[in-house]
Symmetry: C2
Subunit: 354 residues, 2 copies
Amino acid sequence: MTHTASTTSAERDAMERALLLARVHGVPGPNPRVGCVLLAPDGAVLAEGYHRGAGTPHAEVDALSRAAAAGAEVRGATAVVTLEPCNHTGRTGPCAQALLAAGVARVVVGQADPNPLAAGGATTLREADVEVVEGVLAGEAAQLNRAWTFAVTHGRPFVTWKFATTLDGRSAAADGTSRWISSPAARRDTHRLRGECDVMLVGTGTIVTDDPLLTVRDADDQPLPVQPLRVVMGERDLPGDARVLGPDAETLHLRTRSPREALEALHAREARHVFLEGGPTLAAAFVADGFVDEVVVYVAPLLLGAGRNAVADLGITTITDALHLRVVDAGVVGEGDETNVRLVLRPPTREGEA
Amino acid sequence: MTHTASTTSAERDAMERALLLARVHGVPGPNPRVGCVLLAPDGAVLAEGYHRGAGTPHAEVDALSRAAAAGAEVRGATAVVTLEPCNHTGRTGPCAQALLAAGVARVVVGQADPNPLAAGGATTLREADVEVVEGVLAGEAAQLNRAWTFAVTHGRPFVTWKFATTLDGRSAAADGTSRWISSPAARRDTHRLRGECDVMLVGTGTIVTDDPLLTVRDADDQPLPVQPLRVVMGERDLPGDARVLGPDAETLHLRTRSPREALEALHAREARHVFLEGGPTLAAAFVADGFVDEVVVYVAPLLLGAGRNAVADLGITTITDALHLRVVDAGVVGEGDETNVRLVLRPPTREGEA
């Protein structure tokens, strides 16, 4: 549903700008990425705002504060905001009330709020005689917060499972060596994807075997300032000197083998996007229970002919029971002789989903 | 090496046309695909010609015949031809002499003839005071005949190995079922690629196990009018009632397990492009001996977690011995929920190759 006919070009430009602000300044976490641009009645930009994560002001309030600091006249202005203003008092007060109090006359909205706890802002505004236009660049706005949208709609985090494999389905050679199956470009790309999530999830076996640090590094190989929560699943104790227990990021040990229990615990902590990397047994449990929402596969152009399987037994014995996915993206990562293929797959289209 | 500065726009248009004629009318087989356009001194098209396979006139002779039939004046004309005119008497007489006899004044050439037996046409023409421009759209011309060029240069056919796999490297489920791992679109695409080859190669094991017909069908599921040679490799006898022994196409049983011996026998028959499909043991032998020049992998978006491996043991036990390929193409075949990913890979760039 788009209403471009009822928006001005200044408003549409402002929505593009608000989406950019949300994309650049937003962080993974409990709250969605949101951007807001305040426009004077003549279309001039009065102020911009964005949300910087849980506990900081919402984008609308941020923009109003900046307008006030600049001495701009907000009464009669238009607020262009990527997500429907919230209607509830959470860590901050409801944005719909803040916009009303500031005397904003018109609100242009991207994505409707899918969060049942916070929705209703548009209605509140309309009932107070504010003009509201919804659904402007709604697709882009929803894509920006696809994991958050999924999580508040489904009551559990969105799960991305990543694995690396050779062309012939191997994750290591027969003698156990695997450095490096993924190319440097694929490893950098993996860090980029990890940085979009708020949870890094592995099993206790991976900690015992590989002792990974599980931090996320940027393109310059520096740790990100905000690290995802490191979560280790499984009933075994962790070695006291495991690197994952170090100070580089927060770590949580969930003493369960049940994907459902783990996701419930993570949802209770308002986790929105889980990046599941290993090991194969843990991944197989998530697959078997239907808790994998996206699969990212880095295919290395290597043949081993033997070795460790990239994907563990799934209890499937005949072809008609194979787990079917759909390919949403296939492309080459890296350059020259150092390329890997990255495939992104999702479960078959469910009713009512795009 | 391109000489566009020394060609007219009519000549460059004629080369595009000649390439199209070669592509559309050429057939896989001992001879390259070649197209030819004869231009009057004012750039008008006098006649077109193309080669339709071994034993039929070469493109230049075809174009000269058509010009003669139409009563066109060829003396002083320009011949635009996708491949350097041959200089030898094979099944037909040398084209360089035919062009000289017809009084052609200028020859514009795409690819230089890589065949040591036939090369030298440009020199012969120049020595007879014909103006020769070489290397016009040479890259496209060489691509058109890449398998043939490889074969006459390396003294053996170009080998394309195709296999289909699930995301996790399986070709069948644990109970042996595999219909269908490849989507209908991937199967159609495989027939398209088979149709570009002149040999379909399988092992005796595949004949015994699957009893395939090994014919090539077009997009409408009709058999192609010209079928590749069906070649079965291995020391076992073939069942007398094997479908591959039927009248649908010619069949050759090579009683050897040696890829080198098989390729020598096929080269002696002037085979240029072998499409190797199965089984895994035969493919592994070609891989191990370095006789795979291109790998086409159809990756089905399926997970099995167990089952038959798509690639057989290659004698590789440690990661540093893995067979490295480079990705030359990665894309999606088919639409909607029925997509497969097609990867095209080649051995690492060898010195002097593009």
